[in-house]
């Protein structure tokens, strides 16, 4: 025996409760071995927009066998599929790197990051004591100053190699990122700091 009930909703809005009831009674009181097979299908598909809270409550498995034969095998396979393809809001969470990076290179021991967004303003003075008229001419793009230290010449060389005139992607730990040119790299060596070499790295935002 097979039973299938379908409930389709293509409209917008919220659906509350869709009730479907099916009852199949199979009685067998005689002796012998029975192999009753029952298949139930319950599918909820909701494609349009709207907030839906699909809940499927099912009770499967009331099987009564009072026959004279023993060794009944009761199998209740069940598959519950909920498909929801409506439009919704997707949140793209920022993935914050655990360290300051340029491309795939982790900058060693960053102590400070300063990001400036300079703007060029022009003044037009007004005679007679009035306030000047000011206008923003342009913005050149952000500049970044990074201070840190390293005790590895390999790390120093790796950072220095970024001064290649190519565009790189800068990832501060804030989750932001933008394309930059490496405009300056100044590693220092001081006898007072033993093998710790401080450095200063300058970046300029570029498209």
């Amino acid at each position: 025996m097979q039973a299938a009930l379908a409930e389709a909703d293509q409209g917008t809005g919220n659906e509350t409760t869709v009730e479907m009831t099916a009852s199949v009674t199979l009685s067998e009181a005689g002796s012998g071995v029975e192999v009753e097979a029952m298949a139930a299908s319950l599918t909820v598909t909701e494609a349009p927009v709207g907030l839906d809270v699909p809940t499927i409550a099912y009770d499967l498995g009331i099987i009564t066998d009072s026959g004279a034969c023993s060794n009944e095998t009761v199998t209740t396979p069940g598959t519950l599929t909920v498909t929801e393809e409506g439009k919704g809001a997707e949140f793209a969470w920022r993935t914050k790197p655990s360290a300051t990076m340029i491309d795939a290179l982790l900058l060693p021991h960053v102590l400070s990051i300063r990001i400036s967004d300079p703007a060029t303003m022009s003044d037009k003075k007004v005679q007679g004591g009035s306030l000047p008229r000011r206008k923003m001419v342009a913005k050149a793009g952000r500049t970044v100053e990074i201070g840190g230290w390293s005790d590895s010449q390999t790390e120093i060389d790796a950072v220095d190699a970024l001064r290649d005139g190519l565009h790189h992607t800068f990832y501060p730990q804030t989750g932001d990122s933008f394309s930059v040119l490496v405009t300056g790299f100044e590693p220092n060596a001081s006898a007072d700091e033993y093998d710790r070499r401080t450095y200063r790295l300058s970046l300029a935002e570029a498209n």
């Binding site: 400036s116 703007a119 306030l131």
Partner: protein, 109 residues
């Protein structure tokens, strides 16, 4: 509202014209032409805000050549100003969640 403002620096100027008077041994002719307009730098820190990057971005996008009202809430009158350079700094001591910032406003007519 600018978060946790810690300092406000105001620089005001006036346009003065100097004209030297030949043979004058004392002083020339000096006159006040007009106001230069104040330049106000507001510094502060963002604290206890997980969306500190968003707060900085909200500030940065206001540097769009639009004159807005700036009220320092120190008893002085609100002025009209345009936002210019914005700067943000992260340090190891303060942590990545507590950036300091400064924003420079240019008073305009």
């Amino acid at each position: 509202m600018l978060p946790h403002v810690s300092a406000v620096q105001t620089v005001g100027s006036r346009i003065i014209h100097d004209r030297l008077v030949p043979s004058s041994k004392t002083f020339g002719s000096r006159s006040d032409e007009t106001a230069g307009g104040r330049i106000i730098t507001v510094s502060g820190q963002i604290r206890g805000d997980p969306d500190h990057v968003l707060r900085l971005e909200e500030l940065r996008v206001r540097a769009d050549d639009t004159a807005r009202s700036l009220d320092l809430e120190d008893g002085s009158a609100a002025i009209t100003a345009k936002l210019g350079p914005v700067e943000a700094t992260w340090t190891v001591e303060e942590g990545v969640e507590r950036p300091t910032y400064s924003a420079t406003f240019y008073e305009t007519s």
